[in-house]
Amino acid sequence: MRISTEHTTAEQAREDYIVVPNIKPVAGERQGTLVNDLVGTSTELPKELAEGSYVVRIPSAAAIPRHRFKVLQKFEGTVLEISGQECRALIRDLTSPGNVEEVTLSVEEISESDRSLAVPGGIFYWYIGYDDHIGGQRYRSSAIIFRRFPFWREKDLVNAKKKASSLIERLGWKREDTTHQR
C-alpha cells in the first residue's frame, strides 16, 4: 500500500485498497472476500464494505459537484458591533491584500446557524462570486461563513500574555492601565 500525503486520484483509488482481515464488519458478521473491482470514481461506499466484506477502500475521488462556487472576491472580517439588525465589521480584502474597510451588514445575511458566533471579535469569511450549476445556470452569490475554532484555552491565554509582555518590554513601552488585563 502506498502511503503518502498526496491526494488520491480516481485512478489510484482503484489500485490502492487494503485488506484488513481482523475487521469486524459494521453491517454484519458475513465473511468477505477480496475484491479488486472497486470503482474509483464513485463516492458511494463500496457495496462490498456495506455488505460486510473485509475490503476497505482508500479515498475515492468525489464526483463532479452539482454546483460550483467560483470565488471572485473574498474578505476576512471581524465583527465590531451588533446593534439590532445591523452588524458592523472590519473587513480585509484577501483578493487584493492591503485593503481594509469598515462595513455594515444586515444580520439577515448571516445564516441562522452562525448567528451565535456573530459577536464582537467573531471572525468570518465573506465570499462574493458565481454559483455555477450543472445545468449551466449561473447565479451571482454571496456567502458569509463564520470561522469555528476551539475556544481559547488557559495556556493559550498565558502564552499570548507572555508574548505581549515580552514585546512591550522590547519596545520599551510602559504599561499604565492594567485594569483590562486578565
Binding site: E6, T9, A10, L45, I64, K74, S113, F149
Partner: protein
C-alpha cells in the same frame, strides 16, 4: 488552447497514528468544529476502530489508523478546511503526527482532443519514445522540487482528467515532514502556509496549462 477550470479541490492529509473511531460528526459538533445542522445531516459511511468516513455538504473526511484526510471541492470553504484541521488537532494536541500534505487538485477542460494531445506532447515530448513505441501517450507525469531540504517537497502531477473529457488533471502536493511527531509544529506550518500553498498551487497549474 482554451481551458476552463471545471473542478478545484483542496485537501489536507496528515500521516501519524490515529484512533479513527473518535472522528464522528457528533465529536466535531460537540467541540464546536462544525455546525449542529451539519452534524445532524452528515452522511456517515463508516465508523470503526480501523476507519471512519463521513461527509457533510462541504467536506469529506476519512481517517485510517495511519492517515487523516479531509477534502473539499468548494473554493469558498478552502480557508475553513484549514480551520477544521487546526481545530481538530488543537484538541488532539498529543496525537503523534509525522507528515503534513497540503494539496490542490484541479481538473481543466480543454476545447479539443487535438489541444489535449498538444498539451501532452508539450509537457512530455514523445521524440525519445517514437524510436520504440508507435503511439506513445502520456498517462502520468510527476515532477518534484525539494523545499528547504530533501524531506520537504512540492510534487506536481499531470494526468489526463478522469472527470472531464478532454481534460487535464493537475495535482499539487506540498509535503512537509514533521519532526518529533510534534503537533504544534504541524499546526504552525498549516497556519502559516495554507493560503500561500493554495495560491502557489494554482499559479503552478495556470503556468502549466497555458504552455502551448
Amino acid at each position: 488552447m482554451s481551458q476552463t477550470l471545471e473542478t478545484d479541490s483542496a485537501s489536507i492529509i496528515i500521516l501519524g497514528s490515529f484512533n479513527p473511531a473518535i472522528f464522528h460528526p457528533i465529536w466535531f459538533k460537540t467541540n464546536g468544529l462544525i455546525k449542529p445542522d451539519e452534524a445532524d445531516s452528515a452522511k456517515l459511511e463508516v465508523t470503526h476502530p480501523a476507519i471512519s468516513i463521513f461527509s457533510v455538504e462541504w467536506f469529506r473526511l476519512q481517517v485510517e489508523q495511519e492517515k487523516f484526510s479531509v477534502q473539499t471541492d468548494d473554493e469558498a470553504h478552502f480557508e475553513l478546511l484549514s480551520d477544521l484541521t487546526m481545530g481538530t488537532f488543537s484538541l488532539l494536541e498529543h496525537n503523534p503526527v509525522r507528515a503534513l500534505g497540503m494539496n490542490r487538485t484541479m481538473h481543466f477542460k480543454v476545447d479539443s482532443v487535438e489541444a489535449w494531445h498538444a498539451f501532452g506532447d508539450k509537457i512530455a515530448p514523445k521524440d525519445v519514445w517514437h524510436g520504440i513505441m508507435k503511439e506513445p501517450g502520456l498517462l502520468s507525469l510527476t515532477m518534484q522540487e525539494p523545499k528547504g531540504n530533501f524531506e520537504n517537497h512540492i510534487r506536481v502531477k499531470v494526468e489526463p482528467s478522469s472527470k472531464v473529457k478532454p481534460g487535464i488533471l493537475i495535482d499539487v502536493n506540498n509535503h512537509f515532514e514533521i519532526k518529533d511527531n510534534d503537533v504544534q509544529m504541524m499546526l504552525s506550518i498549516l497556519k502559516e502556509s495554507w493560503r500561500d500553498v493554495l495560491a502557489k498551487s494554482r499559479k503552478i497549474a495556470d503556468y502549466l496549462i497555458r504552455r502551448e
